[in-house]
Symmetry: C2
Subunit: 203 residues, 2 copies
Amino acid sequence: MKTRFVKGAETRLRIIRVAADLFHKQGARSTSPDQVIEASRTGKGQFYHYFKSKEGLVHEVLHTYLDEIKNGASPVNYEINSWKDLEKWFLAHVELQKHYEMTRGCPFGTMGNEVTESDELIRQDVSLIFEVIKNKLAAFFMKEKAKGRLVKKPDEEELADFCIATIQGAMLLGKIKRDSRPVETAVRQGMIHLRRFAVLPGR
Amino acid sequence: MKTRFVKGAETRLRIIRVAADLFHKQGARSTSPDQVIEASRTGKGQFYHYFKSKEGLVHEVLHTYLDEIKNGASPVNYEINSWKDLEKWFLAHVELQKHYEMTRGCPFGTMGNEVTESDELIRQDVSLIFEVIKNKLAAFFMKEKAKGRLVKKPDEEELADFCIATIQGAMLLGKIKRDSRPVETAVRQGMIHLRRFAVLPGR
DNA sequence: GCATGTTTGTACTAAAAGGTACAGAAGAAA
DNA sequence: TTTCTTCTGTACCTTTTAGTACAAACATGC
């Protein structure tokens, strides 16, 4: 039956949402289970009933992010179909960061940056998120090429990696300087570079 | 006298070096004083004699990095006088990362990413490092402009921030994917973009 | 209503993090 | 040689972290 075990699923989701926010705010490493438990108004029993360990929770948070990206439930739109969409993709990151008054970086970048050699599973989770994002960006460049509106020279995956590196570096700089200007200028330069590969119509 | 209190200064420096390496490897947040003490073969007494707290040590590590950048003692050369130097600057980061088998990011970026709102002093330390690097890069663009070999349009600080964002994002991606290829492609695209602002001689 | 599985609350615990206290060795200054 | 400061080692301490144990409440199927 569909309505079975609904209460538990809600508690589980509540914990994941609260944890995701804390991880974004201060990193997974410096967030304790107790903090998540208090912020989500649950108890130890519930926490360890739904997640086998703190690492398990981190994994589930990342998996939830991945699902949201895949099914379009993310605050950022990854379905790029035009240069305008690509620009919006960049600017959505800047707006997200501004919303938190430049005190946070990218949720995925923040969590990816704190992985060590002993967090191989978590590293793979973050890596997969960036792989999916790269493919979504690369799909746009591919389509533009198919329409003869983009030069063939740089591989579409190369352009996609450039997009991701630019936004990640920009957001990191923005968080460190607590200033949106370096983010905006880096994004602007990134877009200028990308646009140059476009084949201008009637020219 | 110059040779006074030499032994202590050596111990202090040994702790800072070991700490810098551990912070680079696994982040400052997940490095405990005990780990630094053991790896530097010192004791609690020495640690808290030279540093008032763990935060104090983090501050000193960052200050040491800053000094190295300022007086050219860093493994990366920040004195850029040609496009070739700029390319070397980018590639030095890639080589550094490859040396650690793509398990680490940028030392400064790693530490900058883990700051939270309660680490304001540490945030300022990292911010200052990036500010100094930006100025060194901007100085090169400025000189090129003065010689009429660079278009005036983008502000030199804007170009410098673009350089830093590109290398930071690239290194983060490299660490997360444990792969040097995205780093190399992002750096290549970054250089292509920057070179376009150069005024070609006799053309 | 009873058996079964799910969900939640409370108490406890071992280890680690981050220090403090303080004694004593070692080096320079007088 | 004594005196002062610097340097080093050990023992101890409190709080936090990341859990475990286990009972009780609740829901569901029959």
